[in-house]
Symmetry: C2
Subunit: 207 residues, 2 copies
């Protein structure tokens, strides 16, 4: 299967949201028109996105909701366990690990780390906060797949380097800094400052 | 000034991150090469992005850091107060309002709302949680610019409709649902489920 664009992966996630809604309401079929209308795109785009992964649906009959849902989940790599470490035992990490969709998608927290001596050893959402300097040795045992990086901007790159040395291949970065990862490591940046600035820009430039 | 793409606005935010770093280190000039290297883009893209807003910098001399920083802040609509209501007095709203960059960018919380009777009237990060049904009448007095929507997926559209009726023109949506806003209202979706699925996809499709 060829490499597909990030924007396509994001739209698959959006389609999945709507398909899960239909599934919850026991609706058996849907159409590219309907998927498009609920996903802020066009039906041509829906058909193009799904065509990357083989043929779906029947002309005039639409898509089977259970079949398409299962196929998109499979494409997105859901339905298996992803082992997650949280680096930074603060409010963002806490909000994320309490998020229902986190466990629903197979994400399991296998460790929580901080560099603050006053936090290390304390309980935090059912986990004991560990010393960040133990990450590399712990990783040999715990085999985490993903690191959630939720620390202040200072020395973000240092922590990214540590995470990469620990053999972790995917990072969800909440720190307000651009980070550079070596090839083979995927970083998703969730940058609150950028979202806020995007809104500020939109409000400043309305007619 | 013509309408510019979201992707350009996002890159301006990234350039601003780096320029603020340079400013903090009292560095007076920078180049499109340097900006590009710290922003994950090309110097041609940097020059193109900045060209939307007039001419910056001098060939061979680069850009003045204070001048370019001030201009990008102005373009992004920073440097004035944006009045924010938080809808959903939970962990995400709490993490956001505690975030240093929030107040640094001129975002001021003017009200926190929830629909849970056990929360209404309680104190929350220095605010008293108000009944969501009061949003529209409060908005006449408080004139909020932005609503942060941090509630569970159920009835997100109902709350979006209420926010829009209250005359608010920008929404930062953390709820795991696609929402439809009328023309003239800007919505930024911060969708944890989608970020997690993006990572899951990347991990599933590595060579």
């Amino acid at each position: 299967m060829k490499r597909i664009a990030d924007s396509t992966v994001r739209r698959l996630s959006v389609y999945l949201r709507y398909l899960e809604e239909l599934e919850a309401r026991s609706i058996a079929t849907t159409s590219s028109d309907e998927l498009a209308a609920h996903s802020g795109t066009t039906s041509a785009q829906v058909r193009k996105d799904l065509s990357f992964f083989g043929s779906f649906g029947k002309r005039g009959l639409g898509y089977s909701v259970p079949e398409l849902t299962a196929r998109i989940r499979q494409i997105l790599g859901l339905g298996r366990e992803w082992r997650v470490v949280i680096v930074g035992a603060g409010k963002i990490g806490s909000a994320l690990s309490a998020y229902r969709g986190f466990t629903q998608r197979g994400f399991t927290v296998v460790g929580v780390y901080d560099n603050d001596p006053s936090k290390i050893g304390k309980r935090w959402n059912g986990e004991t906060i560990r010393d960040i300097s133990a990450l590399e040795t712990d990783a040999v045992r715990d085999r985490p797949d993903i690191a959630v990086l939720a620390i202040p901007a200072d020395d973000v790159q240092g922590e990214v380097d540590r995470i990469v040395r620990a053999g972790i291949k995917a990072i969800l970065n909440f720190a307000p800094a651009q980070v550079i990862a070596p090839p083979g490591v995927t970083i998703k940046n969730v940058n609150m400052a950028m979202e806020l600035e995007g809104l500020s820009y939109a409000l400043s430039h309305r007619e």
